[in-house]
Each structure stands twice: as structure tokens, then as C-alpha cells.
């Protein structure tokens, strides 16, 4: 299987301090890759550099074999490499309808009528009545779903999701899980950064563990947490030793 996204020797330094790298990583078409790791391990920095929101200090990013390291973030999105954010999920000061219209415009769709919007809302499990609400009035979970709807309207080939389960209750988390499973069955690949491993691991084809800005381990969901080095990175060496 050829890699859709590939990064080689990717590094990011802040004021001389290395926050990321060097990282070698790839994601195949239709594959769901989970990224886990303790806070400060470089997961979000990896997202920012990969999607063009930050310039790498070193290394290259390839999309379908083409070097996109110098390509601006908005152009990467147009290529099909779309990301979501942990906090900045929606355009909160405008109605849901206008949120969705922006995504439709960006996808080059001429018809901005409600039918296309309602289809997208229903795909992610948002009720029809939300179309008239201000996005800022939605619940946290609904904002999360709307953020994903915005990204999915653009028909991404690879979606980078930054903590999609953060702050969700069980019902909302189940809705997000359903939507991710639907995405997977529709052949849309994803890289998911997440701390909620009980929700993440069943969805993933492969899991990558970050620690101190580098990839510590990589493997299947079943095997990855059995590794002592992963458990030590996550829970601390003392806890693992007591086990």
C-alpha cells in the first residue's frame, strides 16, 4: 500500500529547544492511525507541522509522494489533508447554516441550499433543528460533531483529528465513535490524537506512541499497551515497576 502522507526527519525547535523529532511517519489511504503519548510529547506540534500551521525546523512532508513541505496550510487542505482543532472547532459567532456554507463554498459546491447542509449534518449525527442555531449555542459535543461535519464536507482523503473525545460525555462520545466508524467504512483515513485510549484503540488499524517529541513505539492496538516502555512513558516508571 502506498503512503498517502509521509514525513521524513521532521523536527520542530522552539528557541533552540527541540519539541519534535526527528520523526519518520506515514499514513496509508483509508487507514486509521492513533497517536498517543503523555502531555507535551509533541503530538499537537506534529499535527501543526504536518498540516502547514508551523514551519518545520528540519525534515520533509510528502503527500502522495509529492514534497509539500513549502506548501501553505490552506493549500494542503485543498489537497485533501484536513485537520480539526481541540478548542477552535466551529465559527461560533455565526449560525450552523453559515458554518456549513463556508465548507460547501470551499469544496466548490454552487448549491448552498439547506438540503446539502442537512445531509452533512445528518452524516455526523446532528439534528436538523441545529441548522438555525448559532454555532456558539451548541453543546460541546455538538460543536465537536459540527467541526467534523465542516471537515468532512470537503471530502478529505486524510483527516487529522486532535482529541475528538476531549470533554465529551458518554452519549456524545458514542456519537463521535459512530461517526468515525462511518468514516472508516467510507474509506476516509484518519490520524487521531487522543488520550481516551478505551475509545481510541478499538478504532485504530495502527497506534503510534510519542514521547519527548519522538516516536517511542508503533504497533497494533492489542500489542502497544503491553510494552513496558510505553507504559513507563505514560504512567511513569514507578507505577510500572509496582505492577
Amino acid at each position: 500500500m502506498s503512503a498517502l502522507l509521509e514525513v521524513k526527519g521532521l523536527e520542530k525547535h522552539f528557541d533552540g529547544i527541540r519539541a519534535l523529532g526527528p520523526v519518520e511517519f506515514h499514513a496509508n489511504a483509508g487507514e486509521i492511525v492513533g497517536i498517543i503519548g503523555p502531555n507535551g510529547s509533541g503530538k499537537t506540534t506534529f499535527f501543526n507541522v504536518t498540516t502547514g500551521f508551523m514551519k518545520p525546523t528540519a525534515g520533509r512532508v510528502f503527500w502522495k509522494g509529492e514534497d509539500i513541505t513549502a506548501v501553505a496550510a490552506h493549500r494542503r487542505a485543498r489537497l485533501g489533508l484536513i485537520r480539526t482543532f481541540q478548542e477552535k472547532m466551529v465559527f461560533s459567532g455565526t449560525p450552523v447554516r453559515e458554518n456549513m456554507r463556508l465548507a460547501l463554498i470551499q469544496h466548490g459546491i454552487r448549491d448552498l441550499g439547506d438540503a446539502a447542509i442537512l445531509r452533512a449534518l445528518s452524516y455526523v449525527g446532528l439534528p436538523e433543528r441545529t441548522i438555525d442555531q448559532q454555532a456558539g449555542d451548541l453543546s460541546w459535543g455538538q460543536c465537536r460533531l459540527l467541526g467534523m461535519a465542516l471537515a468532512l464536507v470537503l471530502q478529505p482523503q486524510l483527516l487529522l483529528l486532535d482529541e475528538p473525545f476531549a470533554g465529551l460525555n458518554r452519549i456524545a462520545a458514542a456519537q463521535v465513535t459512530d461517526m468515525l466508524q462511518r468514516m472508516k467504512s467510507d474509506g476516509i483515513g484518519a490520524i487521531i490524537v487522543e488520550h481516551e485510549m478505551s475509545l481510541l484503540l478499538p478504532l485504530c488499524d495502527r497506534v503510534v506512541v510519542f514521547a519527548s517529541g519522538q516516536i517511542l513505539a508503533e504497533g497494533s492496538s492489542e500489542d502497544i499497551l503491553k510494552r513496558p516502555d510505553v507504559r513507563a512513558a505514560y504512567f511513569g516508571a514507578d507505577v510500572v515497576a509496582e505492577d
Binding site: 490552506h74 455565526t94 448559532q134 455538538q142
Partner: protein
């Protein structure tokens, strides 16, 4: 207030509203107002146009600038100086003043491609002040601190005698109607949606493929073009311009006008200009009293009604529906 929700608004309603307002304003001189009232009404319309440019920039795309008066001034100087040195009449000077504003807007936008937020506002303040100093120092061209006059003479444009206050007022109202309809079109267009997305969340807009640098450049240019036009109308209204008229203090005045009416509303700048010019007149306030009053109004508006008078009215009309619309699910 459920009846509000049931009203179906035609896409043409805002344009019809602007047209109706323009007709009412156009026939205002037929009520035989005093010279003072007509002069104030002309100022309201000219500042409404200038503030509409700022409203488009600030209210729609979220870009706050303190150099808007400088662009307004460049439009005024472009009209006055092309008249003085090249004998260009009002109509021939229009593309020059609009073009000057557009270009100035684009140049001011350039730093916004690298800097945003408070630093950008400080930068625009500096740009505005530098432009005022340049206008002051280039006295061979601009007349320096003494300013320059606009050669209005016996010119007429589109059948209106520019030296006649009633005719000039009517012409300015027509320009205001065109500008408001243009801004209305932008607000309701796909570009309007893109601009609001940048205002709301520039990172998210980028992640959805919006080239925010390009759109910032375009909206600054459009706003500058409107300010340039307003500048020319101002130069022909007051017939004498000087650098002190276009400092950051005037930019703050324009901000106040936009904030008073409501920065996200099409008619916000018009309402703001009406209040700004007619309130001191109605209460017979001295300039010092007006400054104190508007300082207080500015503080009150920011604290209690940041969405302006129109925003407050809109919210009051929808108050009874708000809990339903805002229900968390």
C-alpha cells in the same frame, strides 16, 4: 415574539430597505431644513460612507484598523490635488480618489499578513500618524499645516451643482445608496461568508482551505476604496482640507460611529453617524461636552452593548425567543 421567526425575509429585502432609506434621505432637503441641519445631514451621509468601509473591514472580517482616517484623507487629498494641479473635475477625480484609497488599503494590509491582533492595531495607529506627518511635511504639494482648498467652483456632476448645498447633499445620498448596496451584496455573498469565517476563527478557516492572506488583502482594498470615495466627497463638502483632519483621532471617531450603530450591521454606520452628529445638536452640547458625552457613551457601549444600538434592538426583539434558540442539547 414568535411572529419574528415566522417572517420570511426575501433576499431583496435589505436592498429594498436601503433604497427606501435613500429615498427618504434624498427628499430630506424638501422639508426646508436650516443650513446648519443640512450641513450636519451631509456630514452624516459622508461619514456613513467612510464608516461603511470600516464596518466592512472590522465588522465582517474582524480587522480593526486605526489608519482608516488616513486612507479617507488620502482620498480627500487625491481629489483636491488632482483638481488643483491637473484641473480634474469631480467625476474625473473619482477613479483617482477611489484608486488611491484602494492602493493605500492594500499597502496597509501587508503587515496584517504577518501580524494580527493588538500589534497590528498599534501598527495601523503608527501608519496613520506617519501619513499625517507626511501630509504636513510635503507642504509644496499638500499645503502642509495650512492645508489646501478643493476647487469646487461652479462644477456640476451628474446634473448636480456641487457648490449648492442641497444638490451636493442629494448627490452624496446617491453615492451612499450605491455603497450600502455594494456592502450589502458583499455581506450576503460567498465572499461575505468567507470574511466572517476569518473574523470568527482564522485558523479553522485556513484548515478548511481559505487563503486568509488573500482575503485580508482584498477586504482592506475594498474598504480603502470606499474610504477614498468618502474622502473625495468630504473634500468637496468642506472645500478645505488639512492633515489634522485625518489623524488617528478621526479614525477613533469613525470607530465610535461604527461601534455606536453596530459593527456587524449594514446600517450600523448610518445609525452611528446619525447619533454622533445629531445628538450634540439636539441637546445643544458644546464641543467639550460632546467629547465627554461620547467618551462616556463609548465606555457604556463597550461594557453593555458591544453589538451597538442595532444589535441591542435586535436582541431585545428576540429576547423572548432566546432561551429556546440557545438551549443546550
Amino acid at each position: 415574539m414568535d411572529w419574528l421567526a415566522r417572517i420570511k425575509v426575501s433576499p431583496l429585502t435589505p436592498y429594498a430597505g436601503v433604497a427606501l432609506l435613500a429615498v427618504l434621505a434624498y427628499f430630506f432637503p424638501y422639508t426646508s431644513p436650516s443650513n446648519k441641519t443640512l450641513s450636519l445631514a451631509t456630514s452624516v451621509v459622508v461619514y456613513s460612507i467612510a464608516a461603511s468601509g470600516l464596518g466592512l473591514l472590522w465588522g465582517q472580517s474582524g480587522q480593526l484598523t486605526l489608519a482608516h482616517a488616513a486612507v479617507f484623507g488620502l482620498g480627500a487629498y487625491a481629489a483636491a490635488l488632482t483638481g488643483k494641479f491637473f484641473s480634474l473635475g469631480f467625476v474625473a477625480a473619482l477613479p483617482v480618489s477611489i484608486g488611491t484609497g484602494l492602493l493605500a488599503g492594500a499597502i496597509i494590509a501587508l503587515p496584517s499578513l504577518r501580524t494580527t491582533g493588538h500589534y497590528f492595531v498599534i501598527l495601523t495607529f503608527a501608519i496613520g500618524e506617519v501619513l499625517a506627518v507626511v501630509q504636513m511635511r510635503l507642504d509644496w504639494l499638500t499645503g502642509g499645516a495650512n492645508g489646501t482648498t478643493t476647487p469646487v467652483g461652479t462644477q456640476s456632476a451628474f446634473g448636480y451643482a456641487l457648490g449648492q448645498s442641497k444638490d451636493f447633499y442629494s448627490l452624496v445620498v446617491l453615492f451612499a445608496a450605491i455603497v450600502l448596496m455594494l456592502v450589502c451584496y458583499i455581506m450576503r455573498s460567498r465572499w461575505g461568508i468567507i470574511l466572517r469565517s476569518i473574523r470568527e476563527n482564522a485558523d479553522l478557516a485556513t484548515s478548511l482551505g481559505v487563503n486568509i492572506k488573500l482575503h485580508r488583502l482584498l477586504v482592506f482594498s475594498a474598504s480603502g476604496a470606499i474610504a477614498g470615495l468618502a474622502g473625495q466627497l468630504f473634500a468637496y463638502q468642506v472645500k478645505y482640507i488639512a492633515p489634522t483632519l485625518f489623524t488617528s483621532q478621526t479614525s477613533i471617531l469613525l470607530l465610535l460611529v461604527v461601534l455606536l450603530g453596530g459593527k456587524s450591521y449594514l446600517l450600523g454606520p448610518v445609525v452611528g453617524a446619525l447619533v454622533y452628529f445629531f445628538l450634540p445638536y439636539a441637546f445643544d452640547l458644546t464641543p467639550i461636552q460632546s467629547q465627554i458625552a461620547f467618551g462616556a457613551v463609548l465606555v457604556i457601549m463597550i461594557l453593555l452593548a458591544p453589538s451597538g444600538l442595532l444589535g441591542s434592538i435586535w436582541r431585545a426583539l428576540h429576547r423572548t425567543r432566546a432561551p429556546k434558540a440557545g438551549a443546550k442539547v
